[in-house]
Each structure stands twice: as structure tokens, then as C-alpha cells.
Assembly symmetry: C2
Homo-oligomer: 348 residues x 2
Amino acid sequence: MPASIGDVAEHAGVSVATVSRALRGLPNVAPSTRARVLEAAARLGYVADARAAGLASGRTRTIGVAVPLIGPWFFSQVLAGVEAVVTDRDLDLLVLTVDDDAGRQRLASGARLRGRVDGVIAVDVALTEEQRATLAANDLPAVLVGLRGEDLPCVLVDNVEVGRTATEHLLSLGHTRIGLVGHARDDPLRFSVPEERRRGYHEALAAAGIEPDPRLELDGNFSIPGGAEAAEALLALPEPPTAILAMSDEMAFGCLRLARQRGLAVPGDLSVVGVDDHDVAAAWDLTTVSQPVQGMGEQAAELLLAVIDAGATAPAHLTVPSRLRVRGTTGPAKADRTPSRSTQDAIT
Amino acid sequence: MPASIGDVAEHAGVSVATVSRALRGLPNVAPSTRARVLEAAARLGYVADARAAGLASGRTRTIGVAVPLIGPWFFSQVLAGVEAVVTDRDLDLLVLTVDDDAGRQRLASGARLRGRVDGVIAVDVALTEEQRATLAANDLPAVLVGLRGEDLPCVLVDNVEVGRTATEHLLSLGHTRIGLVGHARDDPLRFSVPEERRRGYHEALAAAGIEPDPRLELDGNFSIPGGAEAAEALLALPEPPTAILAMSDEMAFGCLRLARQRGLAVPGDLSVVGVDDHDVAAAWDLTTVSQPVQGMGEQAAELLLAVIDAGATAPAHLTVPSRLRVRGTTGPAKADRTPSRSTQDAIT
């Protein structure tokens, strides 16, 4: 294990902050102290991480958060989690949206980032080579939320497990034709989450000896209307599914709306399971695989600040637990596939 | 009406930008032009607004948005609206949360704001005298969203009308005992919206000759659980209401959840109307008074940028329209007040 800045501090008998200042050539370090630090660093073979060192002083006291969008529930909750930590440390939060080319360019522009942020949290955004190079060249550490970080620290749930857990729940209720409402594969932001959840769905089906039917997999655009449209298309199939796994609660809400409009009983005629545990999910009695979204924002902020403050550089892949929450929208599959029609009140 | 910078520009035969540069003593203005501008300004009695002038150059290219919280739907949508405009102009967005004393202090700290933002949009936050003074002293224009701005530009719906419209809708359906789920009156952020909606509710009741019953007015904390608790308390009254006006859709969702848990039919046993037209409202078939929340964020950003870019200084009070959207959660009042119990599926 290479020597850490803490090792150097211990050997030199000074604080980590002093080591950082000494190695960066900042004032307020006595020449004799600086010499001691340099000697200790040389003896231990310590190579200062320019990124961490440059940031030890928290130059801008601002954390950048890169998101594709602000409005959808997931992103607003991650932002809220980051904000809680950042504000608690009396830092500011700069929002960097990267939903278009201009936004992606901003995140790849040193001129745009330098002196504005001390580091970046990227939420469901796979950083491009160019963006990574810009961040590194400007001593800006980054932490990813939702996506695997390769060489960067990241906070995420095991999305294969998410897909598998939800599918196994439906299989255990006797469903064998399970619709999957997710996201298109072609994605300029390289958003890998749907692919991983889809893999979990396939794994669970395979374990149950069920051949996947590509007609049951549709794009729901991670929105309520998209979920409703996908459900409509699924129910129009010659052999419609008896259950739907929606990759987000918002898409699940769309499926529920469509079911209500069609007069289908949930879960009598159709079971629906979501992913997220959106604020509204419990009120809707939605069965879902929960992920601690706000907590993921908090942990990403803690990780980033650890890198900035203490010069921690080891990439940490932090997998947070997801959990199946069984509520009222999933139930046993009916032997008879023909959906019944019933007259019902608007929402009850 | 005092002369505007536009008047000066017209008289001097130059652009507003040139007037701004001339009055601030910036280079790139010919001496003869500067003289003509100063003469016109003197003749018209034009007093340069230091705030607008100082900002015409867009020093930081960053807009600050002050919000009590990021997570709740309303705030995330306003932020999304601001972000759309700000990003379109290639500016950045700094989030300033003011939910605690430290946050409020930050917004009153020139050292904290100076050089970081070109202006501030305050969402559902009444600025204190100290905050206003700090903003003015630092040449930082502000625009309010959701609250009346006195001398500041603001973007808001007519919240008295919102309360009146929702109440009149319930009255027209024959309801006479209408619960009101809102917000506590004691509020350090001086959030006046609930008071205004309450006034509209009282006005509509008065117009219908109905004496308000204070027991029917409860705090729902603008959250789903708060709405459920308030609904529970209302339904436990000796004479429970037959309808509830919730001051936000999120509180209305809580009311609907409670109704479902109690086996009450909606709207058969209980009508519920919300305010917002939350993304999820349509999927839930919720009757609500919609407000264009994202649009309010966009318009506030446009107003602020107009002040920053063009030196517009006239306070604009922009009232955007709210609209009743009748869906499935409101219906005729039953003559018989005793709620019926029915066995129902989880959500249908």
C-alpha cells in the first residue's frame, strides 16, 4: 500500500493540513516544518495527489451536481440528499444539467468548472472520457450516483438484483407472462441502469425455466405517460401479461392509471410492481423495490467531501441495499387470463 | 413615471447597453457618446440604478435560487423551470437553501453572495429586511416566486382565487361541511400562501351563507403523511366533513390514502380536491386547481435576466393563471352523512 498523506503527517509530527500546505508550497508553514514534511514524504515515497492536495483548502466551497434533469422525482431526491450534507458543512451547491450537448460540453470545459466547484457528483450520468480528463486536469474529484464508476467512487444499488427481486416476487405469485416496462437501449448519456434491471429480469425468468418474450419488453421513458402507453401496448397483445414490472414507480403509476381507465382490477386482473419507493408509492399502495435515493445523495456528498477534505483517493464502490416492499398492487395470477371488467369508483 | 434607461437611450440615439456602459464609466464608449448620454440622463432626470447597471455585464453568469427545500414536488418543478431558462442562456444555477437559520444567514451575507451570483430567485421565501438590504447593497436583483413581492418583481398565482375556486367547486356539488387541510399559521419563513388560500375558502363559504367551523381547518404540513393525519382527524369529528380541500396535491394524496384505508369510497363517501396538478395527480384522477409551476420558474428566470441584462428595474407583479381541473375525486354530496363501508381492492 502506498504511503498516505496521514503517514507523512505522522512521520513529520504535524497535521495532515500542514502536510498539504507544505507540499503545495503555501505560506504559513515554517521553513523547518516544510523541510521535515518533504523529508518524510521522500522517505515514505509519498507522491502527493495533486487533485486532493489542491482541494484540501476547499477553494470554492461549492459542490457541483451533474444531473440529466431536475424535475423527475429521483433527481430531486438525490439533489436533496446532497444538499443536506453540503449545507450542513456550509458549502454551496451548483446544479449542472447535462441533458443536451451544451450541458455535456460545460461538464467538459475546464474554463467553466475551474474556480466554480471543488468537485462534482454525477447522477445517472456516465462521464465521457473528455469530461473525466477535464475534471482530472482541473484537480476536480468526482463521485457517481446510480452508475458504476470504474475508477471513480460511486454510490449505487445492485440494479441486477433489483430486477431479479421484483421478477422473483411476481413469479412466486404464479405469474409467468410478465411485462417489462423500461427504457430504450439507445441512450446518449450511457444510462446503464435499465440494462442491468433487464438482466435481473432475464436471470429470474431463466431460473424459473421461462423463455423471455421480447414482445413483453417495452420502453416507458421513465415517465407516467410513458408507463401508461407501454401498459396499453402490453395489454393489447394477443397474450397479454398478467403482471408488469415497471423499472420506476412513475412508470408504474402510468400502468395503474391505464388499468383503472380500462376497468381492470389491480391486482385481481393485473399485478404491478415498481422500483424506487417514490414518496407517493405508499399512498398508492404500490408494491415496489425501494432504493434509498436521498441517502444515496447524502453518501455521495460524504464521499466527495472525504476526497476533498482528507485527500482520500481510494475509489469506493458503495452499494446500498434495495428492498422489496410488498403492498397492494401485486397478487396471485389468475388461472383465467381473460381480464374481467368491473365498474368502479374513480379511485377507490 | 420616472425616466427609464430606455428613455435615455432613445433621447441619446444609442442602445440601452451603451447607456449602461456610459453611465458606469466603462471603456468602449466614445467620449462624445458618453457626453450625449449624460446630457440625456440629466435632462430626463434619470437616476441610474446601480444594481441593474452593475449587473449588465453578467459578472458571475450564475443565478442563485433560494428554496426552503429541494425535495418536495413544487420546489423541484420551479427549479426545473429556472434551470431550463438559465441553461438555455449558458448560465449556471446555484441552489441556496434557507430552511434553517444558517441558510437564512447565508442569504443575508454579502460575503457569501458577492461574486457568486448575479441575482437571486426566492421561491416561497419572504425575504427579510436584512436579506433585502444585503441583496441591494451588493447590486443583486431578486425575483420572488409564489409570494407577493411588495417592491420586488414576483411571479405567482392568485392564491385567494385558488382557495375560492376549489371551495366553490365543492359547494356547487352540494357540500356544506368542507374540511380545509393546510399549514400552521406560525411560520418563520413567513410563507403567506396558506393564509391566502384560507381566505379564498372563507370568502366562498361566506358567499354561500355558511359559517366557517374552525374545527374543520387542520394543518397537513404540505406532506402526504400530514394530509393523511389531518384527514383522519377530520373524519373522527362528531360531524365529519363530506369533502376536503387540501392546499396541495401531496396532502390530497394523503387524504386519499386515508380514505382507502378506511374503506371510504371517493367521491361517494368523501370528495377530495387538491392544489398544484402534481405530475401524479392526473394518474390518480385527482380533481385539483392547477398552477403552472415549472412555467413560474421559467418566468421568474426571464424576469430576473431582464433586470440583469437590460437593466429593467420596474417591479413586475406577474400573476399567472390557475385553473380548476375536475377529475374523479369530487362528486355530489350524499344526503346521508354516515359514510358507507365497502370492501375493495387495493387500488381500484
